[in-house]
């Protein structure tokens, strides 16, 4: 928390909300976004400022609302499979995995072991890809465009791998109920390992150019501090919480897929400000690279990757409901699926981590920061708008 200044020019806070009178002329209301280069994706912040300091912030979402949950009520289970990945554009794989996992659990389907390993590999690649995108945004928001040039290109190399494996660059549509759609193409694994080496090398440079950059340190340190006691209050998950020293990682706590067979430690930080969160994320990128290597080494080399499903055109799933979660780059990603015994899901609810991070938390953290820092703060929370409004 920013310390309450003596003789403050700021209006008093009541319940964490500033009390101010817009008509006094002392304050100005500005919109940042949706058409603004400093905003992640398509969303907007309604800022009330005093000078260049923010005294109130309101997040507006819904620019990307497509009504997925409604659309899925009209679609058969298999038809939902291409739909779900669109819920989160930069990191679609978690949607695919979670929807498939929920459906499998409700239908009582056990997928082959190799499919679980391939899924895990896919998810870790998605994590790395998504982080590479994020790091470009984080650096860019503090004026370091070069790093974005490096990492987004690296991300593109990862997308090439995805393309060869799944047939799609952005929307992979690869993990469907029953397993995955195809096995590795010949020579793909070696390509993957080569790309990881390139990524690792550039990450070292990123650390030098960004984490050891005096400008970045000065601006990012102390920006948007999340204290451990806020974690449950605002439902904060993922690196945002871990940077505050709260060691929670779903991969470790309630292992899914094959994470219990992999060797890794939860990455934690000491202070969750923009800089601390960056540190945790970069460590997690190295961890992700390590996990991919472990998976490649430990996974069964042969075997089926898909279980026979009932005829998907009229596949009915017994009534029931379940919730599945996975640790994505931003935190806890979850799917709640309710089936009523028909061939279409009755309700699918998508719990995106940005839902709480970008709205309640952002509104809280933005207060008493600088206009120039909102972009950096926003990116340091790592929010992706499409998963908020769905």
């Amino acid at each position: 928390m920013v310390k309450e200044k003596e003789n403050s020019k700021f209006p008093p806070l009541v319940d964490g909300k500033s009390q101010y009178d817009l008509t006094s002329g002392k304050y100005l209301r500005v919109w940042q976004g949706p058409q603004h280069p400093g905003i992640t994706g398509n969303m907007s912040l309604e800022l009330t400022i005093c000078g260049d300091e923010i005294i109130d912030c309101k997040t507006h979402v819904g620019y990307l609302h497509r009504g997925f949950e409604k659309l899925m009520e009209r679609r058969k289970y298999i038809q939902c499979f291409p739909v779900v990945c669109r819920i989160c554009v930069p990191e679609p794989d978690f949607n695919e995995y979670l929807f498939a996992a929920c459906t499998e659990e409700l239908a009582g389907i056990q997928i082959p072991e190799r499919a679980e390993w391939i899924r895990t590999l896919n998810l870790e690649m998605a994590r790395l890809t998504s982080f590479l995108m994020w790091i470009g945004g984080q650096a860019g928001s503090f004026g370091m465009g070069t790093i974005g040039q490096w990492t987004v290109t690296l991300r593109d190399y990862m997308l090439d791998l995805f393309e060869e494996l799944t047939g799609g660059r952005i929307y992979h549509m690869y993990m469907l109920p029953g397993g995955v759609r195809a096995d590795f193409p010949p020579g793909w694994i070696n390509k993957l390992l080569d790309t990881l080496k390139t990524v690792e090398k550039t990450l070292d440079d990123v650390e030098l150019a960004m984490m050891h950059n005096a400008v970045f340190k000065m601006r990012a340190k102390g920006l948007g501090i999340i204290t451990p006691d806020m974690v449950d209050k605002y439902g904060i998950t993922g690196p945002n919480a871990r940077a505050a020293g709260v060691a929670r990682d779903i991969r470790k706590d309630s292992p899914y897929l094959v994470y219990d067979k992999l060797d890794f430690e939860i990455v934690t930080g000491t202070k969750s400000d923009a800089y601390g969160r960056c540190e945790v994320r970069i460590k997690e990128m190295y961890q992700s690279i390590d996990l991919i290597r472990q998976i490649v080494e430990k996974m069964p080399k042969e075997g089926p990757f898909f279980t026979k499903l009932p005829n998907v055109l009229h596949w009915r799933i017994p009534a029931g409901h379940t919730y599945k979660r996975a640790e994505c780059t931003r935190g806890e990603y979850g799917f709640y699926v309710q089936s009523d015994g028909s061939d279409k899901p009755r309700r699918t609810y998508v719990r995106g981590p940005s839902y709480t991070h970008a709205v309640a938390l952002m509104e809280h953290l933005a207060i008493r920061t600088n206009i120039a820092d909102t972009a950096g703060l926003m990116v340091s929370l790592h929010t992706y708008p499409p998963e908020i409004e769905r």
């Binding site: 949706p34 058409q35 603004h36 280069p37 994706g41 398509n42 819904g62 620019y63 990307l64 609302h65 497509r66 009504g67 409604k70 659309l71 009209r74 291409p82 739909v83 669109r86 554009v89 930069p90 995108m133 470009g136 974005g148 040039q149 987004v152 290109t153 991300r155 593109d156 997308l159 660059r169 952005i170 929307y171 499409p386």
Partner: protein, 218 residues
């Protein structure tokens, strides 16, 4: 340009003097905004217009507004791998500086309002590129209550690119196609918008229910 517009005929846009009513604005703000409708800019003659078209086509500046998922493939274009600067293309943060609007796929009603506003604020001649299925016929969200089905009902579109998502290369190919059109003098959609202003405006107002901005933003 006529289908099912009957129910919209009662929306009045102009007053007796042919000025825009700006009915959505509060009274005290009406004086702050212009009430003129857009005008058609007649092209210059001969070689001068050709020169201008060449210049326009070789410096396409994109408005940096990621309206939908398509924005994700714009980002790699800006990096060194594809290097769209070599095609004379670069992103700009504000509509005032931009000449090319890339609609990244689906547009929800809420975004559509901002798209209209940004589009009108852009300086002519201006061009629109529709990405993916969603801009053509609704795409994956064809039955969604919150996304439009046809972009060309709301703003004129120059070039469509098939895909979901189109790859960066397809985007570049689309930009090249647009350049060709501009050089041929076919990039006249800003004038088309001015000519059919009423039709577009009625379509827009049919879906954007809380119209609290000027009827024409510029």
């Amino acid at each position: 340009m006529s289908d099912n517009m009957n129910d919209m005929d009662q929306i009045q846009l102009f007053n007796d003097q042919g000025r825009l009513l700006n009915a959505g604005l509060p009274d005290e703000e009406k004086a702050l905004f212009c009430d003129a409708a857009p005008q058609v800019d007649a092209p210059y003659r001969g070689i001068w217009e050709k020169f201008l078209n060449w210049a326009r086509s070789e410096s396409l500046w994109i408005l940096g507004f990621g309206t939908g998922c398509g924005a994700i493939e714009l980002r790699p274009l800006m990096t060194s791998r594809y290097d769209m600067y070599q095609y004379g293309v670069q992103p700009r943060p504000t509509p005032r500086q931009a000449g090319l609007f890339i609609i990244g796929g689906y547009a929800s009603v809420k975004t559509m309002k901002r798209i209209v506003r940004s589009y009108e604020q852009m300086q002519g001649p201006k061009f629109v590129l529709g990405l993916g299925s969603c801009t053509v016929n609704g795409g994956m969200y064809w039955d969604s209550y919150n996304t439009i089905n046809r972009l060309d009902h709301y703003i004129p579109v120059d070039v469509y690119i098939a895909g979901c998502m189109p790859r960066p290369e397809a985007l570049l190919a689309g930009i090249n196609e647009l350049k060709k059109l501009i050089k041929e003098g076919k990039g006249e959609n800003a004038n088309k918008y001015a000519e059919n202003f009423e039709w577009y405006k009625r379509n827009q107002k049919k879906i954007i229910k809380d119209w609290n901005m000027p009827d024409y933003n510029w």
